[in-house]
């Protein structure tokens, strides 16, 4: 009997899990379906699910109206660039906090995290003015700087928790073996932390890729990444659902593919330290 109970429970859990997954996935699915509709079908009521005239018109128009590849390049440059710079800053920072903690290390970490709790809009005006005066508005460099700043606390936190898992004796052994601080990090710490660094990098690229608030406010056309590209199809009249969906599908496609291939790494990264 026990066996049949557990089987029925398993089926229930499976069904519930699938339902939850489908609910979560539905908006994305709907966006993708809508992108293949004509503008008329897109706003039809009751909504049509699959039995409509499938067309690539929206994609064609989107490509004609704006240079998709330019925005992809901007998104890639901004997310990879900010990730690289953030990594160069945060590896030494996390190293110091994990292996040479001071009295205030925990406080500093909490303070860094607390900056993420402030609404970004609160500092928009000063940042906007600063960017304007420095000529950084609508430049990739400007976006890289702002995204680096926004994601740095999370990267430092993630790397800190990975580094905490590495036994200090191994770094001491490297020191005894004559490694300087730089060599200790390059030859010993970094290779051992590769899985952790990889998932940090992945998460940061995704966060930067999807970031909309700062990119929308600080870029217009030249440096506009995909988030700005999508937003340009959202007009107050709201008549371009199909084109908006096509733009969104194009924008999320690269990161979706990347996320798909790296999901194992990502899940490990996000649960690291929580369960040992």
């Amino acid at each position: 009997m026990a066996r049949s109970v557990s089987t029925s429970r398993r089926i229930t859990f499976t069904v519930v899990a699938w339902v939850i997954a489908l609910i979560l996935f539905f908006p994305i699915l709907w966006t993708i379906i809508t992108s293949f509709k004509s503008e008329g079908d897109a706003i039809a009521f009751p909504p049509v699910f699959l039995n409509f005239h499938w067309t690539l018109d929206s994609y064609r128009e989107v490509q004609e109206r704006s240079d998709y590849l330019l925005h992809v390049w901007n998104s890639a440059a901004v997310s990879f660039g900010s990730t690289l710079i953030a990594l160069l800053i945060s590896i030494p920072a996390a190293w110091a906090m994990a292996f040479n903690p001071g009295k205030r290390t925990k406080d500093i970490l909490m303070w860094m995290l607390s900056t993420k709790m402030m609404p970004a809009v609160a500092v928009l005006v000063p940042f906007y003015l600063a960017f304007k005066n420095l000529g950084l508005l609508d430049t990739k460099l400007g976006l890289i700087i702002i995204l680096t700043m926004m994601n740095l606390p999370i990267i430092v936190w993630m790397l800190y928790s990975y580094f905490k898992e590495i036994p200090g004796e191994i770094l001491e052994a490297a020191r005894m073996d004559g490694a300087t601080l730089g060599k200790e990090i390059v030859y010993v710490l970094a290779p051992m932390a590769v899985p952790g660094i990889a998932s940090t990098v992945l998460l940061n690229i995704i966060l930067s890729w999807n970031e909309a608030f700062w990119t929308l406010n600080l870029s217009a056309s030249q440096a506009a990444p995909l988030s700005t590209f999508i937003a340009s199809y959202s007009s107050p009249e709201g008549l371009f659902w199909a084109k908006l969906s096509a733009a969104s599908t194009l924008a999320i496609a690269p990161i979706l593919v990347m996320g798909w291939f790296s999901q194992k790494q990502l899940v490990r990264g996000l649960t690291f330290g929580a369960v040992k």
Partner: protein, 332 residues
């Protein structure tokens, strides 16, 4: 060369005085063991010598050179850690080669020295493996290999055998002793295991609460312990310590007699008692004897002694081997 001199070395963590003040001289080529109970400061002392911790006071000299504020790598010492501390992402070859690479040696020199070390330590067949694919003993040998390729002025061992099983520990103990004889380099070895200390050391430093209780050769510590702490710590099974009337007869506050320095008789002797537990090891028999006048004593006697629980026996100490201690716990 590898003589080390500690001059009033102290270490304070916050409010805690781990090492109040230590003076110690280690001669070139000596095998010195720091032994003591957990938390006695022996590992801290080793880390101070290594340079992994900064001293709070005093100076450390290696071959007459003051190295107190020098970086670990500049001191010319090599260390073997309790956890082996191998680099898990590197092969055995790269692990052993690492210190040479850091020193900027030429590749040909590195290859030759790694091959030599591997041969000495029987690691030649494992050079391309990663540490994760090795047994505990092999990992320990890699850690030693990494230490010897640098030809350091002294080796520091921090409880290197405590992660190994009993049989392997004995084998590795011999290997390290042999290595010391081959190389003739100064070795400082930290352990809480007094058997390791007794079997390996030229000189034992007994530490307790950050202070040196006694320094001497294993036999000196065994036969002439300076105080109660050393008397109780060195020797296995522990020395029997007796207070009260029996001690007063010898004009001391406490007397000590080792389990192997008593004779046993079934008819007469100094202390009458009954056998509590008898442990038959084959080579020896350890008996816990409840005596009327001297409390519970441990006796070490021949392996074929037919003693069992409940037997009434008489113990007589060898008068020449009785240790006497005064009110301060010092030997008199």
């Amino acid at each position: 060369m590898g003589s080390i001199r500690l001059n009033k070395v102290s270490k304070i963590f916050g409010e805690l005085k781990v090492i109040p003040s230590i003076d110690l001289e280690i001669e070139n080529g000596e095998f010195v063991v720091f032994v003591g109970p957990s938390g006695c400061g022996k590992s801290t002392l080793l880390r101070l010598i290594a340079g992994l911790e900064d001293t709070s006071g005093g100076t450390i000299e290696i071959d007459g050179r003051n190295v107190t504020s020098e970086a670990p790598a500049k001191r010319g010492l090599a260390m073997v850690f309790q956890s082996y501390a191998l680099y898990p992402h590197m092969t055995v070859r790269k692990n052993i080669a690492f210190p040479l690479k850091m020193a900027g040696e030429e590749q040909a020199v590195i290859d030759r020295k790694v091959a030599e070390a591997a041969k000495v330590l029987n690691l030649t067949d494992y050079l391309e493996r990663k540490p994760g694919q090795l047994s505990g003993g092999q990992r320990q040998r890699v850690a030693i290999g990494r230490a010897i390729v640098r030809q350091p002025t002294a080796f520091l061992f921090d409880e290197p055998l405590s992660n190994l099983d009993a049989a392997l520990r004995v084998t590795m103990r011999l290997e390290i002793s042999e290595l010391h004889q081959q190389l003739g380099t100064t070795m400082i070895y930290v352990t809480h295991d007094q058997v390791e200390a007794m079997t390996m050391a030229d000189k034992i430093v007994v530490l307790n609460r950050g202070n040196i209780e006694q320094v001497g050769s294993p036999l000196e510590l065994y036969s002439r312990p300076r105080n109660l702490f050393v008397a109780g710590f060195i020797g296995s099974p522990r020395m029997n310590l007796i207070e009260g009337a029996e001690a007063a007869k010898h004009g001391a506050r406490t007397i000590g007699i080792r389990p192997e320095h008593m004779t046993v008789s079934t008819t007469d002797g100094a202390w009458k008692g009954t056998v509590g537990v008898a442990e038959h090891l084959g080579s020896d028999t350890f008996c816990h004897v409840h005596t009327e006048s001297a409390g519970t004593l441990t006796l070490r006697t021949a392996g074929d002694a037919m003693l069992k629980h409940g037997d009434t026996i008489y113990l007589t100490p060898d008068e020449r081997r009785i240790h006497k201690f005064n009110n301060e716990g010092l030997a008199v």
